[in-house]
């Protein structure tokens, strides 16, 4: 009886009911889609940073972390690498030679980190080779090739074939330098990184540092980067004489971004749900106040307060029950479509690059998160009905009947 009356009541004003359904639909869609959008954005940012710069795990000599001098290389790097590779969760490892120094061209000079790599190994842990916009990666027959970031090339006025002198300290802390030729210009989503990092052959850099083959850093990819902390701890416990760190340890900012996602999502959801709740309270309150006379009459003829309360709740519940599944459907559709094509934000591409993001954001959401958000909206919508229903309870039948 109450269900039937509630159902008929919500269709007495289709525009108002439609607006509640639309509000719930939009609220559900916004909650789910924005969550997926920001999850996608953060995931993309982290993946970009890990794929292009940080890697999943890093191994250094303990002294290197204190003082990044070339003398602080990893002793017995071959055997360390061999042990690491034995672990099933390790996907690939690349040994890097590092030197902090100065890049000089005929036009200018600038402080850089020089990364010496074996191109075949490096391909397995980083995607810099895919970010070459001009020229080639290090797999070239030219002598002493160097790949530089586009911002650095602009600053030093470098182009393909340009000479660049890289100056740094060797393992004996003596100043040394080498002449390199630019073979490729790369550009990642992190402009600051691109301006301060250059890539050379490990075999070209190590001799300049005073040893034929030096490793300052091992970068590894693992099967699940979300578990890098656990993997790093187990490797660190296993290996002596080196420090194994996860990307979260190496880049606290990324860890912070990752953990702040939940907080940010909570704030976003709270705003959306608050707006939705206020919208529903406002509309349902109108629906109650508009029917004051009728509700008074219902009380007069014997409809008790709990039935009136239930009737208003059921009305909201029916509207919510329509709005939430529609919102879920819309968000599922839009996320499914955009997770392939991406949300094109190229219009603000430069700004996004500053934040280490590409121009396309690919929304992602997990099923349980999807259902959880939909449930949260539904619960908020039903809770929003309590105030108008409670307001209806406060009506005095005599005063209510007098109102027309």
């Amino acid at each position: 009886m109450i269900f039937k009356l509630s159902w008929k009541n919500i269709w007495r004003n289709p525009v108002r009911s439609g607006s509640v359904i639309a509000a719930v639909l939009l609220g559900t869609w916004a909650a789910i889609f924005l969550s997926a959008f920001f999850s996608g954005m953060y995931e993309q940012h982290i993946r970009n940073e890990l794929d292009n710069h940080v890697g999943h795990l890093q191994v250094h000599a303990p002294e290197y972390n204190e003082d990044a001098r070339t003398a602080h290389y990893i002793p017995r790097d071959d055997s360390v690498a061999r042990i690491i590779r034995q672990y099933s969760f390790i996907h690939s490892v690349s040994n890097r030679t590092l030197a902090n120094g100065l890049a000089s061209s005929s036009a200018n000079n600038y402080g850089v980190t020089i990364i010496g790599v074996d191109p075949d190994e490096e391909r397995q842990v980083s995607r810099i080779h895919e970010q070459i916009n001009t020229g080639t990666y290090l797999d070239t027959t030219r002598r002493s090739p160097v790949v530089v970031g586009e911002p650095l090339a602009d600053r030093l006025k470098l182009e393909i074939g340009s000479k660049v002198v890289l100056q740094f300290q060797d393992v004996s802390n003596e100043i040394t330098a080498g002449l390199f030729r630019v073979v490729g210009l790369y550009s990642t989503s992190n402009a600051q990184y691109d301006e301060t990092h250059v890539f050379v052959h490990k075999k070209d850099l190590s001799p300049l540092l005073g040893r034929s083959d030096l490793t300052h850093e091992m970068v590894a990819r693992v099967d699940d980067f979300h578990r890098a902390d656990v993997y790093a701890d187990s490797l660190d416990a296993m290996l002596g004489g080196v420090v194994v760190e996860s990307w979260q340890d190496v880049s606290p900012m990324l860890r912070y971004i990752n953990s702040s996602l939940d907080t940010m999502m909570f704030v976003f959801m709270a705003i959306i749900i608050l707006a939705l709740t206020l919208g529903i309270i406002n509309t349902m309150l109108m629906a109650v106040l508009e029917r004051t006379h009728e509700l008074g009459m219902l009380m007069a003829i014997g409809m008790n307060r709990s039935r009136i309360f239930t009737m208003i709740l059921v009305e909201t519940f029916l509207l919510t029950l329509t709005g939430v599944p529609l919102g879920m459907l819309f968000s599922w559709g839009s996320i499914s479509y955009l997770q392939d094509t991406g949300v094109d934000l190229s219009i603000v591409g430069e700004g996004l690059r500053e934040y280490g993001l590409g121009t396309h954001i690919y929304p992602i959401i997990e099923t349980d998160h999807f259902l959880y958000l939909a449930l949260m909206v539904a619960v908020a919508a039903v809770l929003a009905a309590i105030y108008p229903a409670w307001k209806a309870l406060k009506l005095n039948p005599v005063e209510a009947i007098r109102k027309v």
Binding site: L298, A300, G302, N304, V398
Partner: protein, 232 residues
């Protein structure tokens, strides 16, 4: 035995700080099968008295007993439930539920009493036939004339087989033909089924048909006359 007994009923309203005695020490006793009218000028306290007798409004002091039950010893929810089972209401503005059809409006009372659906519809149909609306049972209020809506309201008031029906200015919004038809119908229900009707009115047509007329002035019953009514 009296269906309704009131003793020393007083209702004082506070109007902008000034106490107003809308009902001022009313003792009234109404027996089963009466067809009574409470009359008086506007502001004399008719509707207030009717609302108190119906348990819609609480008196400042005094008691109302219905079939031996002290109405104001009940809490609000108990009183709503009491109304559902013992009192029928007919309002000046019909007050039907706009989204329900005539039969649904009448059956609604019975459904609230927890009666089975089939029984509710059967009784509602019979009642609508008895008020001459057998061909309008599936019409919504906005598809019915004022007189027809008030007939549905009477059918609804009778649905729960109440101890009495309170009708507040039931003809105020009706034309003379509809008023006459409605009064005929209620008089017949009173005569045949001994249903007790109490009207609050200043409509002379209603007063003429009443067998007992209580005149209210300044919240007090100034005359209480029992007589043979004029026939329609």
């Amino acid at each position: 035995m009296a269906v309704i007994e009131s003793h020393e009923l007083v209702k004082i309203y506070d109007e902008e700080g000034v106490p107003v005695r809308a009902v001022n020490g009313v003792d009234v006793s109404i027996k089963r099968g009466e067809f009574s009218a409470i009359v008086g000028p506007s502001g004399s306290g008719k509707t207030t008295l009717l609302n108190i007798i119906g348990g819609l409004d609480e008196p400042t002091s005094g008691t109302v007993s219905i079939e031996g039950t002290d109405l104001f010893a009940l809490d609000q929810n108990e009183r709503i439930d009491f109304r559902l089972h013992h009192i029928g209401f007919v309002f000046q503005a019909y007050n039907l539920i706009p989204v329900l059809t005539a039969i649904e409006n009448v059956a609604f009372i019975l459904q609230m009493q927890g009666k089975p659906n089939r029984e509710c519809r059967q009784r509602a149909r019979e009642l609508l036939e008895s008020v001459g609306l057998s061909d309008k049972i599936d019409k919504r209020p906005n598809e019915l004339s004022g007189g027809q809506q008030q007939r549905v309201a009477v059918a609804r008031a009778l649905a729960s087989k109440p101890d009495f029906v309170l009708a507040d200015e039931p003809t105020a919004n009706l034309d003379s033909t509809s008023s006459a038809n409605l009064l005929d119908m209620m008089a017949e229900l009173n005569r045949k089924e001994e249903i007790t009707f109490i009207f609050s009115t200043h409509d002379q047509r209603v007063i003429d048909r009443a067998r007992r007329v209580m005149t209210l002035e300044d919240g007090k019953i100034v005359s209480d006359e029992t007589r043979e009514p004029e026939t329609a």
